[in-house]
C-alpha cells in the first residue's frame, strides 16, 4: 500500500466533510479537522521512516489507471518537510479551536485550512512541474481567502494586495514552465533533469529570472515581499503562523531549491544571485522590524529576515550550508508560529495589537509570557535553544566557503534580531501592568497547550544535530539536495 496519495486524499476528504457538516455544531468541525491533521502527521512520519529505510519512494498512478502520466515522489527532503508542516498546522488548529469563536463560520475556516494543507502536501510530493503548479495554486488561493477571513477593512486590502502580487508570481512561474517544456518536451522532473543540457543562451537566463522572481515573491525574499507585512498582520494569528511556518516554506523555498538543485543542477552564478537576495532580506527585514510597534507586523518583518538565513544557507551548496539552511527552516517553523500564537493570545484576551497598548502582561499571562520569552531567545540565536544551532551552522558554512562578508551580515542580523525582541519583551511582557489590562486573564487551556507543545519543540530541537538523530532527519534531506541532477536518474530507475 503506497502512502503518498493519502497525503492529498485525506485533507481533501476532510475539507469536504467539514463543509458538508456546516450546519452541525462547531465541536464537530474541530474534531474532523483535528483528526484529519493528526492522521496526516502520522502518515508523514511513516513516509519519512519508509524513505530512511528503503530510499526514495515513488507512486505511479499510471500503474493503477493507465494513461496517467504524473507521478508522486518522496525523498528525504520531502519527508522532512511533510513532518514539519503537518505538525505545525496541527498546532495551529489546536490554537484555532478557541481563537475562532470570534468568527461565525468555523466550517469555512477549517475547509480553507485543510485545502491549504492539501495543496502544500501536493506540492511536496509532486513529481512534475504542472502538478506542482496546480497544487501551489490550490494552496495560495486558499491562503488569499484566509487572509480576508476576518472581513475587516484592512484584511480585505491585504488580501487584495496578496492576491494580485501572488497572481503575478504564479503567472511568471507558469511562463517559466512553458519555456522549460518548449526546450525539453517534458514536464516531469526526472525527464527534465536528464534532458536539460543547460543551453548557454538567453533561454536559461530567462527561465532562471522568471523562476527566481516568481518563487522569490512566494518565499518572501526582500525586493519582492511588499505584501508580506500586510498579509501577516491582517490574517488571523494562527493563519499568519501557517503562512510563515508552512506556506512560504513549501511553495517558496522548497519548490525553488528542488528546481535549482535537482532539476537544473547547482550553478554557482545563479546561486550567488540568490545568496545576495538572501543577505539583503536578512539585513533589510530586521532593520524594518526594529521600527515596528504592531506585534504581528514586527513578526512579519522578522519572518522575511529569517527566510533570508534559510536561503543563504541553502544557496551555499555545501553540505554544511544545506544542513544549516534546512535546520533553520524547521526551527523557524517552530518558533515563528509560536510567536504569532503569542500575539494571537494577547489579541484574544486583551484586544491589544500594538506593543504600546501592552505592558506587564507576563504578570497576568504567565504561560504566554514564558513561551514568548523562549521563542524570542530561540529566534535571536541564544544557546541552548534551537535557533542558535542552525544559525551557527549557517555562519560556519559561510566561513567555510570563504564568504566572510555574508557571515558578518548573518551575525549582525542576529544581533539586531535580539535588539528587536528585547523591545518586544520590554514593552509587552515586562514593566508595569497597563491599566487597561488589569482585568485580563490567561489564554484558554487549548491555546496554552498548543503554545507549550511548540515551546517544548523550541527547547529540544537542538537534538536534531546529535548523532543518531541527524542520520534520520537532516542527513537524508541534505543528501536529497546534494545528489543534484542524479535525482532524475534515480526516479527513472525506480519507475522501471
Amino acid at each position: 500500500m503506497n502512502l503518498l496519495p493519502l497525503l492529498i486524499i485525506i485533507p481533501l476528504l476532510g475539507a469536504i466533510i467539514v463543509l458538508l457538516m456546516r450546519s452541525c455544531a462547531k465541536p464537530w468541525h474541530d474534531a474532523v479537522t483535528f483528526i484529519t491533521l493528526i492522521a496526516l502527521s502520522v502518515i508523514a512520519v511513516l513516509v519519512q521512516t519508509g524513505v530512511v529505510s528503503h530510499g526514495m519512494m515513488v507512486f505511479n498512478p499510471g500503474s493503477v489507471v493507465p494513461g496517467l502520466g504524473t507521478i508522486a515522489v518522496a525523498d528525504g527532503l520531502t519527508g522532512l518537510m511533510l513532518i514539519t508542516i503537518n505538525t505545525v498546522i496541527t498546532c495551529m488548529v489546536i490554537f484555532s479551536i478557541d481563537y475562532i469563536n470570534r468568527f461565525e463560520d468555523s466550517a469555512l475556516y477549517y475547509f480553507l485550512i485543510l485545502m491549504t494543507t492539501a495543496g502544500l502536501n501536493g506540492v511536496l510530493i509532486s513529481g512534475d512541474l504542472f502538478t506542482l503548479y496546480v497544487f501551489m495554486e490550490i494552496a495560495v488561493i486558499s491562503a488569499y481567502v484566509l487572509t480576508a477571513f476576518t472581513n475587516e477593512p484592512e484584511s480585505l486590502e491585504a488580501s487584495f494586495k496578496y492576491a494580485v502580487i501572488g497572481g503575478v508570481s504564479s503567472l511568471l512561474i507558469l511562463c517559466a514552465i512553458a519555456f522549460i517544456y518548449a526546450e525539453t518536451g517534458s514536464l516531469s522532473f526526472h525527464e527534465i533533469a536528464i534532458a536539460w543540457n543547460r543551453p548557454e543562451h538567453f533561454l536559461t537566463v530567462l527561465v532562471m529570472v522568471l523562476l527566481i522572481v516568481g518563487f522569490g515573491i512566494k518565499s518572501t525574499l526582500i525586493p519582492f515581499s511588499s505584501w508580506v507585512p500586510d498579509a501577516y498582520t491582517a490574517a488571523p494569528a494562527p493563519v499568519a503562523g501557517i503562512f510563515s511556518g508552512a506556506v512560504s516554506k513549501v511553495v517558496g523555498i522548497y519548490a525553488l531549491m528542488r528546481l535549482l538543485y535537482n532539476i537544473f543542477g547547482f550553478d554557482a552564478h545563479i546561486m550567488s544571485v540568490v545568496g545576495w537576495l538572501a543577505v539583503a532580506s536578512i539585513i533589510i527585514g530586521v532593520t524594518l522590524a526594529l521600527y515596528q510597534w504592531n506585534f504581528k507586523r514586527l513578526l512579519a518583518y522578522h519572518s522575511i529576515s529569517q527566510i533570508g538565513y534559510m536561503i543563504l544557507g541553502l544557496s551555499l551548496g555545501t553540505p554544511l550550508g544545506i544542513a544549516g539552511g534546512l535546520m533553520h527552516l524547521i526551527n523557524h517553523s517552530v518558533f515563528k508560529p509560536l510567536l504569532f500564537l503569542n500575539a494571537g493570545s494577547i489579541e484574544h484576551t486583551s484586544n491589544a495589537t500594538t506593543l504600546k497598548d501592552m505592558g506587564g502582561l507576563a504578570q497576568r499571562m504567565p504561560v504566554t509570557g514564558a513561551t514568548s520569552l523562549i521563542a524570542s531567545l530561540s529566534i535571536s540565536g541564544i544557546p541552548p535553544f534551537n535557533g542558535f544551532w542552525s544559525k551557527l551552522l549557517i555562519i560556519f558554512a559561510c566561513v567555510q566557503s570563504g564568504k566572510f562578508g555574508f557571515a558578518v551580515i548573518a551575525v549582525a542580523g542576529s544581533i539586531l534580531t535580539l535588539a528587536s525582541f528585547t523591545k518586544v519583551q520590554r514593552y509587552a511582557f515586562m514593566g508595569p501592568l497597563n491599566r487597561a489590562a488589569q482585568s485580563i486573564g490567561e489564554a484558554t487551556m487549548l491555546m496554552r497547550l498548543s503554545m507549550i507543545i511548540l515551546t517544548v519543540l523550541c527547547v529540544s530541537m537542538g537534538v536534531l544535530l546529535l548523532p543518531g538523530v541527524y542520520e534520520v532527519f537532516l542527513e537524508p534531506a541534505v543528501r536529497a539536495l546534494t545528489v543534484g541532477r542524479h535525482y532524475g536518474v534515480a526516479i527513472e530507475k525506480l519507475l522501471q
Binding site: 496546480v134 487584495f160 494580485v164 497572481g167 511562463c175 518548449a182
Partner: protein, 110 residues
C-alpha cells in the same frame, strides 16, 4: 512572431497591474497576463500543418501537442477561480471604502 505577440500581451497586463490605480483595471490586467501565458503555451504546442490530436482522426499524421492544450484548459479554470475571487474582493472593498481607487485604500502602511 506569435511569441512576440504573447510577450506584448503579457507586458500590457503587467503595465495595467503596476501602473493603474483602478481595482477593476488591475483585475483585467491580471486576466490579460493569464491569457498571454495561455497563448504562449498553445503556440509552444503548435506544429506546422498539425491536425487535431485524436488517434481515430488522423492516424500517422502530424498532430499538435495535446499536452499543452490540456495544461491550458487547467490554467483557464485556475484563472477563472482567481478572477472570481478578485472580483468578489473588489465588491467587498467597494462596499467598505466606497471607492475603487487603490491609492485611497490605505489602511496599512509602514
Amino acid at each position: 512572431m506569435a511569441f512576440i505577440l504573447a510577450i506584448i500581451l503579457f507586458s500590457i497586463g503587467l503595465y495595467a497591474v503596476i501602473v493603474k490605480r483602478n481595482i477593476v483595471k488591475i483585475i483585467i490586467g491580471i486576466a490579460v497576463m493569464g491569457y498571454a501565458v495561455n497563448l504562449l503555451m498553445i503556440m509552444i504546442g503548435y506544429r506546422a500543418d498539425g491536425t487535431i490530436p485524436l488517434a481515430s482522426y488522423g492516424a500517422g499524421m502530424v498532430t499538435v501537442d495535446p499536452l499543452m492544450q490540456a495544461v491550458v484548459l487547467t490554467t483557464i479554470v485556475i484563472g477563472l477561480s482567481m478572477t472570481v475571487f478578485l472580483v468578489a474582493l473588489a465588491l467587498r472593498l467597494y462596499a467598505t471604502y466606497n471607492t475603487i481607487d487603490v491609492a485611497e485604500i490605505r489602511e496599512l502602511n509602514g
